[in-house]
């Protein structure tokens, strides 16, 4: 009976959501090592795809992992490296961002970026009563971002054709950039009804920019990802612009680690695919998504 050694490779905590991932991964590590004595979990972060590819190779060579739980920085560039590990006998669990060649992953645990965009569009369309002007702040140019924005636009067009998307610019999942982009949107568009910030970090910047400009026309600011401060606002109803959120829980990494530990120590395979859908957080269910200990 070989010992289960789980290598966890995740992006470095460079913005709120990834910080949540790092937090939940470390929490899961503690829990797994308590629950399954003899099982070892190694958590490593990487700042880009290239480093992550090096990192998982190092984990195999030196730490002798036999299970890999990876949240890839990006799907395509990590497909070949993960496939290489799989060929060398490592059980591979891919989280959130599926590889371009699904054969390289033994199991897939993921959020659903398309439903993330769709849920947001549906909520926003409803709030606006099917009519109004929306500006969008996208993240960093990545597949994740493309999927979210595409499905947001598609859903909006299909269900609320009266809602007009004025522009969509990159805010880089960053508060400061979002602040600046929002300032400029406010200069440019005299009438904005809603802002889809697509990420709670960006929503923070957006709210400040609106506050500074003293604009009253905006009715909805919808972030996403479930940052604790934002969930709290939804819960308390303290900000009339922030009435909902869309989950994309960073805790999915913990789910994946727990699943892997449970099944691998028992020598079983994981379900091929576990999808954690994005759900709408509103005042009624906010309590469930509030983790005051998490950094995100």
């Amino acid at each position: 009976q070989t010992k289960t050694i789980i290598g966890v490779s995740i992006p470095a905590a460079d913005h709120g959501w990834t910080a949540g991932v790092v937090y939940h991964a470390n929490e899961a590590k503690k829990m797994v090592e308590r629950m399954y004595p003899g099982t070892q979990v190694i958590v490593k972060t990487a700042k880009d795809a290239n480093e992550q590819a090096n990192q998982i190779q190092d984990m195999l060579t030196v730490n002798k992992i036999n299970t890999l739980v990876i949240l890839p920085q990006e799907s395509a560039p990590l497909t070949a490296p993960v496939a290489a590990l799989k060929r060398q006998g490592v059980y591979t669990v891919v989280v959130d961002r599926g590889l371009t060649n699904p054969a390289a992953q033994d199991a897939y645990v993921a959020g659903d970026n398309r439903s993330f965009g769709k849920v947001a569009a549906q909520y926003m369309g409803k709030q606006l009563g099917g009519k109004g002007n929306v500006v969008v702040l996208r993240g960093i140019p990545t597949v994740v971002d493309n999927q979210r924005v595409e499905s947001f636009e598609a859903a909006m067009k299909a269900q609320y054709p009266g809602v007009k998307i004025l522009d969509k610019k990159f805010g880089n999942w960053n508060r400061d950039d979002a602040f600046k982009v929002m300032q400029d949107y406010l200069t440019r568009f005299p009438k904005i009804d809603a802002v889809w910030a697509a990420d709670d970090d960006m929503a923070v910047g957006v709210l400040k920019a609106i506050q500074q400009a003293g604009r009253k026309d905006i009715r909805v600011v919808l972030g996403g990802g479930g940052m604790k401060e934002m969930i709290k606002k939804v819960m308390d109803g303290s900000d009339k612009l922030v009435t909902a959120n869309v989950t994309y829980p960073p805790s999915m990494i913990a789910d994946a680690i727990m699943l892997a530990a449970k099944n691998r120590t028992a020598g079983k395979a994981l379900p091929r695919s576990t999808i954690i859908p994005s759900v709408l957080v509103s005042k009624s269910n906010a309590q469930k998504f509030y983790f005051p200990q998490s950094p995100f």
């Binding site: 470095a12 905590a13 460079d14 913005h15 709120g16 990834t18 910080a19 949540g20 790092v22 937090y23 996208r138 140019p141 522009d167 969509k168 610019k169 990159f170 880089n172 999942w173 960053n174 508060r175 400061d176 602040f179 600046k180 982009v181 300032q183 400029d184 949107y185 200069t187 440019r188 970090d201 923070v204 910047g205 400040k208 500074q212 400009a213 401060e229 998490s294 950094p295 995100f296």
Partner: protein, 332 residues
């Protein structure tokens, strides 16, 4: 003396070209503003112009410090990280003292002083490592770039550090307030630039900074305390970062590992677009100010229009930077 030596008059020939060269960045800025107005007339609205100036203030203030460092022949890559670390630490400190000192101006003052102390200490450490440790500035500040940001990431556990709401309310006017009709950051930026210009051009210290950048050997022969002057440039840079941070914290009331990312490149770019040579020796503060405004105008212009694919924003910035530099190339 003998009359054999002619009186050589300093002819003003070719000085028009020279001057145009010197004014390169300013011309670039004006052209850009004309273009921006053509693309979207709201560019010239006072609200938008103050937005641009306010956003430029952060990079601009930091770039004033960078002008000194670069003129003296050094470089500081760590400014963005230092801003992030300072912001995080200051928030933690203010949150901590607000328990006993309350959420009033005392707490905010403690925070401001803390920022200045942290900035100055970081700069001093750079200066010491560079002068006493005799390590290349590039290496020292590349190292601290990693260190500062890592410490902040550790403090924030990767997430963000937020200022208590009541302190944030007291602090807010420092960013959102206005004096004489102008946003506070713009006023502070102007003051920092004026002071910087004064120090650089009208004090002994400023003169020594230029002499050292021109030739360290000559400066040493002139019995200038090269190590001290160089160290002081890094301290000035640290203080400028601190001032920028003091303006930054009340804006969003939080700091995170992505705070100040790549500010070093923007600050250095502002300095160099402004006509200061990367190899040191001479430069000018007003150029740096124009450089910072120019960089921010490009971003603003891109946000105000839709004619270019968002994917190409960075390309437009790149092209404009190169073009502006081309304008003022004559003088070299």
């Amino acid at each position: 003396m003998t009359s054999s030596t002619r009186n050589i008059s300093v002819a003003p020939a070719s000085s028009l070209m020279m001057r145009l060269g010197r004014l390169g960045p300013l011309l670039g800025l004006v052209l850009l503003m004309v273009l921006a107005t053509a693309l979207n007339s709201s560019f010239l609205s006072p609200a938008n112009l103050t937005n641009v100036a306010t956003s430029a203030a952060f990079i601009g203030i930091i770039a004033v410090g960078a002008t000194f460092v670069i003129i003296s022949g050094g470089i500081d890559l760590s400014v963005g990280s230092l801003a992030a670390l300072t912001a995080g630490s200051v928030i933690l400190i203010m949150n901590a003292v607000s328990g006993t000192l309350g959420a009033g101006w005392t707490t905010v003052l403690v925070g401001m002083v803390a920022a200045l102390v942290i900035g100055a200490l970081a700069g001093f450490a750079h200066g010491m490592l560079i002068t006493r440790g005799r390590i290349e500035p590039f290496i020292v500040t590349l190292g601290t770039l990693g260190i500062f940001r890592a410490v902040l990431t550790y403090l924030s556990q990767g997430g963000s550090i937020s200022l208590n709401l009541d302190v944030a309310d007291t602090f807010a006017p420092v960013y959102y307030g206005r004096l004489l009709g102008l946003p506070v950051p713009v006023i502070v930026f102007a003051l920092v630039a004026l002071l910087g210009g004064l120090i650089l051009n009208r004090t002994r210290y400023g003169r020594y900074v230029q002499a050292i950048g021109s030739s360290e050997q000559v400066a040493r022969y002139a019995a200038i305390d090269v190590s001290r002057v160089k160290t002081t440039t890094y301290v000035l840079q640290g203080l400028c970062v601190a001032v920028a941070t003091i303006l930054y914290v009340p804006r969003l009331g939080s700091a995170s590992p992505s705070t100040g990312l790549l500010w070093e490149l923007e600050a250095i770019a502002a300095v160099i677009i402004g006509g200061t040579a990367l190899k040191g020796g001479n430069g000018r503060i007003w150029g740096t100010v124009v450089g910072a405004l120019l960089l921010m105008t490009i971003t603003n212009m891109l946000n105000l229009t839709n004619i270019i694919s968002v994917y190409l924003n960075a390309a437009v910035q790149g092209i404009v930077i190169i073009l502006v530099a081309f304008f003022q190339r004559g003088k070299r």
